[in-house]
């Protein structure tokens, strides 16, 4: 977790985290060169796994140029040319988090080209949907693009769903991810509401662990929220462990001890 301290790794280890997956994301600033992404991919595939291993946590990652930096298509393509060099690293799960940020034509073109990389290498895809007022439109554009690309929806998780987009994603056959924040976006209580509304199939939750106000223990707190709502241990384990394992196991690199 490049934006988090070592104490956060310790905290999630103590909370029982069995594995973590980290998407390639925005650094909080636009990188100045494709070489900057090369260094970032080395951090995700070499250094972070070692940092997580000190706490007994298998570390996995997704690779891409994130949509916030995809507005310059020429630059984005220069970065995407690097990605295949890293796909044989043992902790790489697939392509992500690709998607849209401000729903522009350039972002959409780069998104579609990332999807083609995933198809070429037969890898799962993790998709970022835009935040706030841009989410509904962005989710619709993303679903249309995926349908046009004839992607197997079982190999795609569309992340950051909220109440107005979860149904669109699940009805189209994709996996849905709920990203939990302590404030500003989806809280643990709302995530449990969505589970109760949309069901427990093809859905997972993840802790936002970025540069903003976020909480690596958010998934653990949501499990506690489910317990408060009297969900069974089996259901809590399904949503927090078995569902993610089922999706991630489509990547040949993903292995978690005890996951059957």
């Amino acid at each position: 977790m490049v934006s988090r301290t070592t104490a956060d790794y310790e905290a999630i280890a103590l909370a029982g985290c069995e594995a973590l997956c980290e998407p390639a994301f925005w650094a909080g600033y636009d990188r100045a060169s494709a070489q900057g992404f090369y260094d970032y991919y080395r951090q995700l595939t070499e250094y972070e796994p070692r940092r997580a291993a000190k706490f007994g946590i298998p570390h996995y990652c997704w690779l891409c140029i994130n949509p916030k930096e995809a507005e310059d298509a020429v630059f984005a393509r220069e970065v995407m040319a690097i990605i295949p060099d890293f796909l044989d690293k043992p902790n790489v799960l697939g392509i992500g988090e690709i998607g849209l940020n401000k729903n522009t034509r350039s972002e959409l073109a780069i998104f579609e080209e990332h999807v083609e990389i995933a198809k070429k290498f037969n890898l799962p895809i993790l998709i970022h949907t835009p935040h706030l007022e841009d989410k509904l439109k962005g989710t619709r554009l993303i679903i249309d693009a995926l349908k046009n690309a004839n992607v197997d929806p079982n190999k795609v998780i569309i992340d950051h769903v909220e109440e107005h987009t979860a149904g669109l994603v699940l009805d189209a056959g994709f996996w849905a991810g709920m990203t939990l924040y302590p404030e500003s976006k989806c809280t643990p209580a709302r995530a449990v509401d969505m589970l109760e509304t949309f069901g427990m199939e093809r859905i997972w939750m993840n802790s936002a662990c970025d540069w903003g106000v976020s909480d690596p223990l958010a998934v653990a707190k949501c499990m506690q929220e489910m317990k408060k709502r009297r969900h069974s241990r089996e259901i809590i384990e399904k949503v927090s462990f078995h569902n993610p394992v089922a999706f991630l196991s489509q990547s040949p690199n993903f292995k978690v001890p005890g996951a059957t």
Binding site: N103, T104, E163, H164, R229
Partner: protein, 99 residues
Amino acid sequence: MQTKPDKSAILDLYFMDARCKLIDLAAFLDRLDRHSGTADFRHPSFLTALQAMQAPTPGKTRVQTVLESLSDHSTEPAEKAGIQFAWGAPPEAPANPSR
């Protein structure tokens, strides 16, 4: 399967937190009223969303109606990004096409 919490249990779990947030909303609107200057598009969007919460679109929940009220409903990709962040409400007039 354990018995799901009934309305009374949900109130026990969440009423105080929701009450606190409701009062925070009222204080936020008072704060806007009290301060000088002109509020931008976010203020009317917020007020529209509050109304949407009280009268959700048929077939949709309150939270879906509020989220859709605060969403961009255009369908064509934008030509340029302009900004990297999101405002929380669409810069144009609040949209709630199904109402």
